[in-house]
Amino acid sequence: MSGPAIAITIIVAYFVINAVVIRLMGRKQESLEDFGIGNRSFGWLLNCFSYIGGWYVGAIYIGWFANASGLGVFAQYVIIYSITSLFIMFFMARPVWILGKVYNLETQGDLIELRYGSRAFKFIFALLTFVFWVPWLIIEIKAIGYVVQAATYGSIGFNIGLIVVSVFVVAYCFLGGARASAVGGLVQGITFTIVGVIAVYWLIVKTYGGYPELYDSVEQFNSGLLQLGALGGKYWFSVVVSCTMGGYIIPGVFATIYRADSSRAVKKSVLIAPFAGILIGFTILSLGLGLAQFSDFPADPQSSAFWIADKMGGPAMLGLIGILALAAAMSTLSAVLNTASLLISKDLVGTLFSKLDRGVLFKWARILTIAIGAVSIVIATTDLPNLMSISLVMYDCSVQAFPAVFIGLFWKKANLPGAAAGFFVGCFFSLVGNFYPASIAWAGGWSGGIIGVFFNILILFVCGLVCKRYDRVDELFDTVKTYKEVHTGKAI
């Protein structure tokens, strides 16, 4: 059997396993609540691995891996913000879940409408968070193209691979909704957590001899890779803080909370998710850290994970790294696709046409799954810059949702004027800072996102102290305080 044939066989076998498990554990979709958030029925293990699957992106094997080899330990910001975002999710899991259950919330926009009493703000908030967050779809679809091409020695082209795999994901999201996405995330999350960590550690040992030898060789080759250097200071602070705040605020995190059968089921994921995250991130990015010292290091560093897998383990290891990266990309793609279709259907279409009933919105959500998937696939076939650069811009913008949501959950005086004005001012600074960096040179190195979030929080607090608070806010806080949860303790 030739090299490409071995790699392709491994990838196809993995697809069959995915399809069978999703089919066996899937259920017929009968309502918007079922399609969007699985009827709030997921046990802690399903929720945990679908969260891990949704959170850890395929791009970590491509753009982040390339940055580990070029920028060194700076690329490990992804490990830090993954854990710190979990902390923030832990803080808000109980109020978000309880309000979701009592007031039938299904999206982040629903929470904004409930908290601030404005459908107009919900619409604009949902639209902007969608615009800032949806590039993940394109990043992940693009990642799929890289993976398939690299893992099959180029015998399957970038666009063909991207289209075939993405259509598979779109199909199971369309047919099975949130449950299919979560079950897929469970299979894919377990794959790249357990198999992934073992396989990548094996590659580290095979390539360098172990961790001490890895650090010795990197220190000899370029000790700057073991320090933040010029990328430290305010830039490092800006990246970690904006990714932490922006990371938790993405609509997909809210879907994870609403899907669980209790807030304890959401929180229980901290027994696995952070440790799995550290292992996944640390092994992958460590492997990439010293690769640039090899003379045959590829000209395109984004393919270096596949290059080293083939060099050290041949076609079988290449196929294995291929399915790990595909697992990570597919689980994120399905999670974003499912949440995005619900967001547009409910927060945008449902808000614009308030007379539409839930049955019609359910049909919209399903159709939108295909429409969003198709548009994203088309965009992904065009030329785009390094995947990590795109994600940093996105986080800088989506962080502006943090004050309205997070502070609004814990501070009664947060009100509509403050939340809306703060959000818009914050978005302005983020966009200007990213697209016209010279205009924020006065800030002395802080990013547009951090400047924006500073003014955003300031405005929220000032308006909270000056303007009248929302009439129903006491009722909402009392609901959270007095609600008695039932913990089922189920795993799936």
Partner: protein, 85 residues
């Protein structure tokens, strides 16, 4: 400890650990290759130590909060039972 106390303690731990790894003057001091700590370059050690510490605290926080919730539920049940009698 009450739930509120536990959340306050968690917030303090969280901010302290994040500050350790992000505040420019602190990271400037840590951003070096030597000394090696547990076999890792200095900066690499702190880049891993902070997430591990946060992960351990998250697990402790979850288990502690479950105990508080279960205790509160048992207390509420006992009160309800007492009233019924």
């Amino acid at each position: 400890m009450t739930r509120k106390g536990l959340y306050t303690l968690s917030a303090i731990i969280y901010i302290a650990l994040i500050a350790l790894i992000t505040l420019p003057p602190v990271t400037a001091a840590l951003d070096r290759v030597t000394p090696r700590i547990l076999g890792m370059p200095c900066m690499q050690f702190f880049l891993i130590m902070v997430p591990v510490a946060l992960a351990v605290w998250l697990a402790v926080w979850f288990l502690w909060e479950c105990k508080i919730e279960d205790r509160e539920a048992a207390k509420a049940e006992a009160q309800t039972g007492g009233e019924a009698k």
